[in-house]
Symmetry: C2
Amino acid sequence: MLAASRRWRAQGLKVGLVPTMGALHAGHRSLIAAARGENDIVVVSIFVNPIQFGPGEDFARYPRDPAHDEDLLGGAGVDAVYRPSVEVMYSPGSSTRVHVSGVADPLEGAARPGHFDGVATVVSKLFVAVEPDRAYFGQKDAQQAAVVRRLARDLDFSVEIRVCPTVREPDGLALSSRNGYLGSDERRAAVSLSSALRLAADAYAAGERRPERLRRMLCGRIEAESLARVEYAEVVDPETFTPPGTLAVLAVRIGKTRLIDNHDLSKVFPG
Amino acid sequence: MLAASRRWRAQGLKVGLVPTMGALHAGHRSLIAAARGENDIVVVSIFVNPIQFGPGEDFARYPRDPAHDEDLLGGAGVDAVYRPSVEVMYSPGSSTRVHVSGVADPLEGAARPGHFDGVATVVSKLFVAVEPDRAYFGQKDAQQAAVVRRLARDLDFSVEIRVCPTVREPDGLALSSRNGYLGSDERRAAVSLSSALRLAADAYAAGERRPERLRRMLCGRIEAESLARVEYAEVVDPETFTPPGTLAVLAVRIGKTRLIDNHDLSKVFPG
């Protein structure tokens, strides 16, 4: 991978990296399209990263569909797919972790211990292996994007971190490879995340600024669904992920499936 | 730094990096000479890395002598000196650390909590900023070299880690920027480290293999000096830094000065 990337660089070409865990959907396609528009070369990495999953999480059943991924990539104008094996990424005896504190501590960091160490480590490895000029992440995983921005600055990576808007289903549900876990009743209940964000954005536009009111509005809408349970609902600063701020962030269990979503309340909710 | 390094690479030149904290001596000169012999371009970094010093340690008084360093570098055939400020390396809000477990845990890792996180973080940053083909470290800091080898592998850095023999004074004392802290009585007592290693290597050559005997021999020789106090003396594996093995490693206090040294007992002690 690095040899190819250095050959491109030697020819003066700019390289955009889209890191993924496969199970590609229209959200990934929008990242690839953004990369395509801004770079000479587009590299997509596909790696279901075991160390970012906790012990009770869905690493084993995380959707893997190489044929589907290849179909999607075939038409997307991708120059290279970097698909390392787990054995190559974490060979026996490997023991190095990249740890980001601060922005990685609350919310997803607190709910999923070790998750962001896993993310920071694998993203650092991808940046070392690909030496991209730009890398593309989705706003859906807003805190992940902030963690990556932090590590890229702190470790001196010469990469521009680009964050692309969340892609949504017609009813508002943010695209996620985990949506496939949802049964049909759960799928209907899952619209509560985006509905809640829209409700809070409308209230914010109408002048509501009290964090407790906004939080209660988010929770109220979600827990109106009997299948949904709020794990957290906060309104935070989009750099630090602590209050005060305007970024509403949600983690919700729908049955056994954990979904996240977010929206900057100072902006109109799309659609 | 990165722009220069990438220009060299584009011309097909190989880059060797010698990371230092300044206060350069003949040990550093031997690293530079090794780099000079194996690469087209030699980069020396000079950075007294605050995060690898513990709270009670000698960061503030660590010797800094830019004029002397420049003199030494002037005659050494160095192509570039990378000398970032603390403010550039650790800008406000920076919060990322590279952590190596396993090899970084015992001995120096146990005696100096946080030390190897600081080393691993700064070395990762240097590797990202310089993208060297080879990097040069001294055998004197044997565990540091093992930690760097581990992180380079684990984070996929395309760099060959070269470890060069310890350079010693005529009486055997390993060169160190900290030797300048020693008063004249302390300087005489400091020879006990290399004397002890020579004694143990002689015993090993004569067939002694019992770790406890070798350890007692090391401690006995050092504590024959009233100014010297053993912090640790172990015989370990040179990859894992745990017993069993043939690498004798020492940390010794001479007055307020902490010195380390090591020798592979299966080899003749030099000089």
